[in-house]
């Protein structure tokens, strides 16, 4: 039998009524765990928001070396007209779809890291995603890097939404034995439905059945703890979402919807340390301009709205947003108005906490790797190390398995 301690943290066992207890105070308790062993003390109310651009975004048409004559040569059909880019400096400009991010650049809230990758790159989506999610190009780890963060800090023991994954399934970056991070697809559906004729008795029996699950079979503790965590977290989420008033009008696309939910738990102070959302469709083997321009518009609008919402609620100092994608794409276009899998993609970092600028080595379009891609220059784990140490205030060596030199994209 699973003990109640294994499944349910203290203070949340008793009954239906107490589940609505002051969960928002839990945000303050997070400080205890995370301050132990950390380098310079970081504020305990910081949140990291991770946005996955799934499919392998073409960095070259996102952050464009518009003044490099080689760019036009390699992309005769696929080029973004240099006259239309949103100039960041003499060399680089953003795809014109990204007006929102350009505004953030102008407001000193945007940093860009070019040429991100890792040794022995994989051109398989699933493999490369797994590498980014485990932070283990050589298979050093099989669990998620943020799962290891939560295990190290026990942050998710103190708040139901210390981690929150907005989507349909748990992102592998959060997966590690013993850690349950809630996945929320839609707040409206995030409830445990009980026949009102008999709800209290059923809930009590239901709880007993979860704790009574045998440990004989290895999946049972996972299912039971997900169930118990889920039921308890439904109340927290319902409160956060119903009491939250956005100060912007979010778009109707799913990413905007996800960010709105993230905004609600952040602004309502549910103790969120890490939030996650995803935008897919970046695997542009064909018809890239149309597909990517649309996706970048969605991304840019959603993120800039989100940032504006956080600013209006006084949360902008506490939130950092970072985007990642499993690889970049080949420099030369293919025959279907698209690009094949490549390397050396870009990452965006947004928020008041950035030191704005361009990081990483400027890609040389004439010195490509054997796959025909940009040579990567920044190991993504250096970015992770920066986020863990510099933003979340925890030691990253155990989580990443080695020391990585931080990339200086954070303000002091």
């Amino acid at each position: 039998m699973l003990t109640r301690r294994q499944l349910i943290r203290s203070g949340a066992v008793a009954g239906v009524a107490s589940a609505i207890a002051p969960t928002f105070l839990w945000g303050a308790r997070v400080a205890r765990g995370s301050s132990e062993g950390a380098p310079a003390a970081a504020p305990s109310n910081r949140t990291l928001v991770i946005i996955q651009m799934a499919g392998g975004n073409d960095g070259l048409n996102t952050v464009i070396p518009y003044s490099d004559s080689n760019y036009l040569g390699v992309r005769p059909n696929l080029r973004v007209d240099p006259a239309t880019v949103l100039q960041l400096n003499d060399r680089l400009g953003l795809n014109p779809a990204m007006a929102g991010l350009k505004n953030l650049w102008d407001a000193n809230q945007l940093a860009i890291i070019e040429g991100v990758g890792y040794p022995n790159p994989s051109y398989s989506h699933f493999d490369s995603m797994a590498i980014w999610q485990t932070a283990a190009p050589k298979g050093e780890f099989s669990d998620g890097w943020l799962g290891r963060y939560f295990k190290q800090t026990a942050a998710e023991a103190n708040a139901d939404f210390a981690g929150i994954d907005i989507g349909g399934a748990l992102a592998p970056m959060f997966k590690t034995p013993g850690v349950t991070i809630p996945v929320v697809q839609s707040p409206a559906g995030y409830k445990l439905a009980l026949d009102p004729r008999d709800a209290a008795a059923r809930l009590e029996a239901w709880r007993d059945l979860q704790t009574a699950a045998s440990t004989r079979q290895r999946y049972l503790p996972l299912i039971a703890s997900a169930a118990v965590n889920a039921q308890r977290s439904t109340q927290v989420l319902a409160r956060a979402v119903s009491e939250y008033q956005p100060s912007v009008t979010y778009g109707k696309d799913p990413l905007s919807g996800s960010l709105r939910v993230l905004a609600s738990v952040i602004v309502q102070e549910a103790g969120t340390k890490v939030g996650y959302a995803m935008l897919g469709g970046f695997d542009t083997h064909s018809n890239e301009r149309k597909t990517q321009d649309q996706l970048l518009t969605t991304l840019s609008d959603a993120l800039s709205n989100f940032q504006a919402d956080l600013v209006a609620h006084g949360k902008a100092d506490d939130v950092l947003i970072v985007t990642w994608t499993e690889f970049g794409r080949r420099v030369k276009e293919n025959g279907s108005q698209g690009t094949d899998h490549g390397d050396g993609g870009s990452m965006f970092v947004l928020g008041n906490g950035v030191k704005p600028g361009i990081y990483g080595d400027p890609p040389d379009l004439m010195q490509l790797d054997s796959n025909g891609s940009i040579q990567w220059s920044t190991d993504f784990r250096s970015v992770y190390a920066t986020l863990l140490q510099g933003w979340l205030g925890v030691d990253s060596t155990g989580i990443l398995g080695a020391r990585f030199t931080p990339v200086p994209f954070l303000a002091a």
């Binding site: 797994a130 298979g139 099989s142 445990l192 008999d198 279907s336």
Partner: protein, 483 residues
């Protein structure tokens, strides 16, 4: 100790997809002990009924008491024969489908069509394999497009017709399938400017698996499949003018290979045999799969000339399939959960509401999240999906208006009198739904819910809410999620 990047990748991918929350508690012993110290219950899979129920859960979507009675009368081997080679002249599901209205141009109704088919099929292994192939050659309407939904159904028919046939032939058919040609850009793969999408996924996901080919092989495969395209009516055509007829080197052999040659070579690879055997073992037997069983199934695949029926016969007759380690060892996929519940409880349905429920559970038919299909295993379990599983249980148990299609009549299902003891009611449900595989403490919790000592009488006709509550709670046990 250094391992090759490739070995690391395979290990990592296996590790990420097979994380469990806790180490396996205890070795495989002949007797099940409940953790709370109650008297040991009988070992699993020792009686014919339990073995056949296990077979139907795995090779199909479970069985109602009446179906199980018939199967037990037949015996295990005859039941397996029937699953592998249905003797009827048509699927009983067709009778139901023909009497139900569907607007198959809509995704929701196409999904509903297939769910009703699974519910009423008299050929459950065929439907289970059609679902397996749909997850294996995963193709999604999100890119194929709603306007071409008919192509998704055409692909579905292909998986049904060739479910247990010859893998080589299936692979060749899939390479010419119009939905697949759209999905993986086959139709954009041109003579002088090849598109590698299909060539890569064909090897990485459909046949040998990563680590068995190089990037040059991907390029060679792409060249070989140039010209394999669709015409304006989205029918497969071979366009010789767009085909690269030159020499290619593929998997160490050189020749003027066409796509058909690539299919021939891939079907014959020992790596393909092993990859498929492993995947089938994880789908039907246990995860992680037993390496001995995988090896022997791979061997059957090759020696039978890629005969899927032969492979599955060997699988369901293997010793490994009947061990305590295989019993209740997999997490039910959403399809298994939903259809299994409907079949086991003999629920009448026209499928209304089921597509939406499948979406909340994380498995949208005709729309897998990627070409890798659904990750399965513990990936089915997260806070949102476990809530959805419990809410599905609630929807089964809550009294519904008759038109909604989800009704349950517990007492008659269990063949109980209208006044029965609390324990006979609770035990009847746990036997029916979880094969009695609950801890003593859980059983006590169910009796306690009824508010009666285990031997006390419960008048089922006067206790509608309680009886439905008991059904809900049994369906809401963590154990019910195990297959």
């Amino acid at each position: 100790m250094a391992i090759s990047p490739t070995q690391a990748r395979i290990a990592r991918r296996a590790g990420l997809t097979a994380l469990a929350a806790a180490p396996v508690a205890g070795a495989l012993t002949a007797v099940r002990h409940t953790q709370d110290g109650a008297a040991p219950t009988k070992a699993p899979l020792q009686d014919e009924r339990s073995r056949i129920a296990h077979l139907y859960r795995r090779a199909g979507f479970g069985a109602s008491p009446a179906e199980l009675d018939a199967a037990v009368a037949r015996g295990y081997d005859a039941s397996l024969d029937r699953l592998l080679s249905p003797a009827d002249d048509h699927d009983a599901a067709d009778d139901v489908l023909n009497q139900t209205d569907f607007d198959l141009a809509k995704l929701d109704d196409s999904q509903r069509w297939w769910l009703v088919r699974m519910r009423y099929t008299s050929r459950p292994l065929i439907e289970k394999m059609a679902l397996f192939w749909h997850g294996h050659f995963a193709t999604a309407v999100s890119k194929v497009g709603i306007k071409q939904l008919a192509l998704m159904r055409q692909q579905n028919d292909l998986f049904r017709t060739q479910a247990l046939g010859n893998f080589h032939d299936l692979l060749l058919s899939v390479s010419k399938d119009p939905a697949m040609l759209i999905w993986l850009d086959g139709r954009l793969n041109h003579k002088n400017v090849p598109n590698e999408n299909y060539g890569r996924e064909l090897m990485e996901l459909f046949t040998m698996g990563i680590g068995n080919y190089t990037e040059d092989d991907v390029k060679a495969a792409a060249h070989a499949f140039t010209g394999w395209t669709v015409n304006r009516d989205f029918q497969y055509v071979f366009n010789p003018g767009d085909h690269d007829a030159g020499s290619k080197t593929f998997l160490g052999k050189t020749g003027t290979f066409n796509g058909g040659d690539v299919v021939d070579m891939l079907a014959a690879q020992p790596a393909t045999a092993k990859f498929l055997a492993r995947k089938l073992t994880r789908y039907f037997v246990s995860d992680p799969p037993d390496s001995g069983l995988v090896a022997s199934l791979a061997s059957v695949y090759l020696s039978s000339g890629y005969d899927l029926r032969a492979v599955l016969r060997a699988l369901f007759k293997s010793d490994e399939f009947m061990t305590a380690g295989a019993y209740h060892s997999l997490i039910k996929s959403p399809a298994e959960l939903v259809i299994g519940t409907l079949r086991t409880l003999d629920v009448t349905t026209d499928g209304t509401g089921l597509p939406g429920i499948m979406r909340t559970l994380g498995q949208e038919l005709f729309n897998p999240p990627s070409v890798a299909g659904w990750p399965a295993g513990d990936s089915w379990i997260a806070t949102n999906t476990v809530l959805a599983r419990n809410n599905f249980a609630n929807s089964i148990a809550v009294a519904q208006k008759p038109e909604s299609g989800l009704l349950a009549n517990v007492a008659s299902l269990l063949s109980l009198p209208s006044v029965a003891t609390a324990s006979s009611l609770a035990d009847g449900l746990t036997t029916l739904l979880v094969d009695g595989d609950l801890s003593g403490e859980a059983q006590q919790a169910l009796y306690a819910y009824l508010g009666a000592g285990s031997g006390e009488a419960v008048d089922l006709s006067k206790q509608d809410a309680k009886v439905r509550g008991l059904l809900y709670l049994t369906l809401a046990t963590p154990e019910y999620n195990l297959n």
